[in-house]
């Protein structure tokens, strides 16, 4: 009984922690990017200010919008929150790992994406439809690539369950296989594509021709928009955590001792910071790709995923 309470508490804390850290990650990347461009950048709390501002506002919805439009951001947000319970973050166990593993995680994220794309189509505005169709085009390629990358690690550990996978990786200690790096490179491209970062999408623009994710959520305002933005932040943090779990799990807490958990949290924060720097640099040194080039980039990552899986077998 005591064990179950502990696990439940850990799960709630983990989800709340990720929710709290998500705006900070977004601000940190924006700050670093600004610094690289010789600008000051927003203050550290800007992400929280933005969310608070949006949440205080009144939701403005189109007269033609149906319940689907209202449900979209809520399902998207809930899916992101549900997904956080499937991924080990600080300790080498996911709170709800008995519910499912990699496939459930990918499915949950796909559900959120589906809800948002459907909601974007709902009002019948051309931008929403365009954004939704673009987002789905990329997702159709990115999703199998994500699964291939995850399967490469799962094959090494012999389990599709993320908790079991991380524990087995920790047990065997650090030993690299060339497939690991191939999978990492493939997954990194997917993270860039899925979080709408620069070679694929520009999170800072509202130019008609180039936006993908922004076009899809263009009509949302107030609390609806806040939910979408927040969920996007959580998803980004989740993807980076996934990269850490699969390839550099060293330092994660294997027991519930406070010291181990603290160390695990510090290691996690440090590794997220390193990956955030990598994302920032990628975003700063690359130009945005033309939309028709994006499938090529994503197919590179699909190829890397296939290759990693093939090499794993040989």
């Amino acid at each position: 009984m005591n064990q179950a309470v502990l696990v439940a508490l850990g799960g709630v804390l983990q989800t709340l922690g990720l929710l709290a850290a998500a705006p900070l990650l977004k601000t940190a990347i924006r700050r670093m990017k600004a610094r690289l461009q010789n600008r000051q950048g927003p203050p550290w709390r800007q992400g929280y200010y933005d969310l608070a501002k949006l949440l205080r506002k009144e939701p403005v919805r189109s007269e033609t919008a149906s319940w689907i439009y209202v449900a979209g951001p809520r399902v998207y947000f809930s899916a992101a929150v549900a997904a956080t319970t499937l991924v080990p973050v600080v300790a080498a166990a996911a709170p709800l790992e008995s519910a499912g593993g990699i496939l459930l995680l990918v499915g949950t994220l796909a559900l959120g994406r589906f809800a948002l794309a459907t909601a974007a189509l709902d009002t019948g505005s051309p931008f929403g439809g365009m954004g939704a169709s673009r987002d789905m085009t990329i997702a159709a390629l990115a999703e199998p690539a994500l699964m291939l990358g995850l399967f490469t690690s799962a094959l090494a550990a012999g389990s599709l369950n993320l908790g079991v996978l991380v524990r087995s990786l920790l047990q065997h200690g650090v030993s690299f296989h060339p497939a690991d790096l191939l999978a990492f490179a493939g997954l990194f491209i997917i993270v860039i594509a899925e979080t709408g970062r620069i070679p694929v999408d520009n999170p800072a623009t509202h130019l008609e021709l180039t936006m993908i994710h922004e076009a899809m959520v263009l009509e949302y305002a107030g609390p609806d928009l806040a939910l979408v933005e927040w969920a996007s932040g959580v998803k980004e943090l989740l993807y980076l955590t996934l990269l850490i779990d699969l390839l550099i799990p060293a330092g994660m807490a294997t027991s519930a001792a406070p010291g181990a958990l603290l160390l695990g949290a510090a290691a996690w924060a440090g590794k997220i910071a390193i990956l955030a720097v990598a994302v920032t640099v990628t975003e700063s040194v690359n130009a945005k790709l033309r939309l028709f080039r994006v499938p090529e980039l994503v197919s590179v990552s699909l190829g890397l995923g296939f290759l990693a899986l093939a090499i794993r077998f040989l």
Partner: protein, 215 residues
């Protein structure tokens, strides 16, 4: 630890070779080659420390100076001068090329499993990566039209051979390795001049137009 560094660097070389196939901008392809050379230098330096073959430090240094700095700089200058920044127009489109390279890598890796394991237990991976890169380099040479990309493909092949020589064998004589390094830089210089000549005559870097050259 040594094995991990070797495997990671070798895998990094394979990733850059793969990204080069998926890449259409010339400048980025050149930068990828520079990164690949840095990985090669890491392999050489790691072998120098772990097997205490100190002449390999010189090779690592030469690789950094020549292949990660000088040759990329020279190629970028060539591109700047002839003013062709345009994208590479391959005979095969990117997804098809990637698929072919995937097959080539699997072949390279499958062949490498036949080699006996070395002392470090990493030679299987190093040979696999090197064979795959060799095949990818040859494939790039055949399917790309732009002369600059063909030079990059040639250099990729050379890096693959160097990877096997450093990582798996007990090493070539120092003089031979030095000679190869200078051969490479000379080849790039001559090819650079050749690219200028091609562009002068055809106003394009497209080598498929060379078949129109009749005496």
């Amino acid at each position: 630890m040594t094995g991990d560094i070797l495997i990671l660097s070798a895998a990094g070389m394979l990733v850059t070779a793969y990204l080069m196939v998926g890449q259409k901008a010339l400048f980025t392809a050149i930068r990828l080659f520079a990164v690949q050379s840095l990985f090669l230098a890491i392999v050489a330096a790691t072998m120098a420390i772990s097997a205490s073959r100190h002449e390999l430090f010189v090779m690592a240094g030469l690789t950094v100076v020549l292949k990660a700095a000088l040759i990329p700089w020279f190629l970028m200058r060539v591109i700047d001068r002839i003013g062709i920044h345009r994208e590479i127009e391959p005979f095969l489109n990117v997804p098809a090329s990637l698929l072919v390279c995937l097959g080539l890598t699997v072949v390279g890796y499958r062949v490498s499993t036949g080699f006996p394991e070395g002392t470090g237990g990493v030679s299987h991976h190093l040979i696999g990566v090197a064979l795959s890169m060799l095949l990818i380099g040859l494939f790039l040479m055949v399917t790309r039209k732009k002369a600059i990309t063909q030079i990059l493909a040639l250099l990729t092949v050379e890096s693959a051979v160097f990877l096997v020589a450093v990582g798996v064998t007990s090493g070539m004589p120092f003089v031979v390795e030095l000679g190869i390094s200078f051969d490479v830089i000379l080849a790039v210089l001559i090819l650079g001049v050749l690219v200028h000549r091609i562009v002068d005559r055809f106003e394009s870097m497209d080598v498929s137009r060379l078949s129109k050259l009749k005496g």
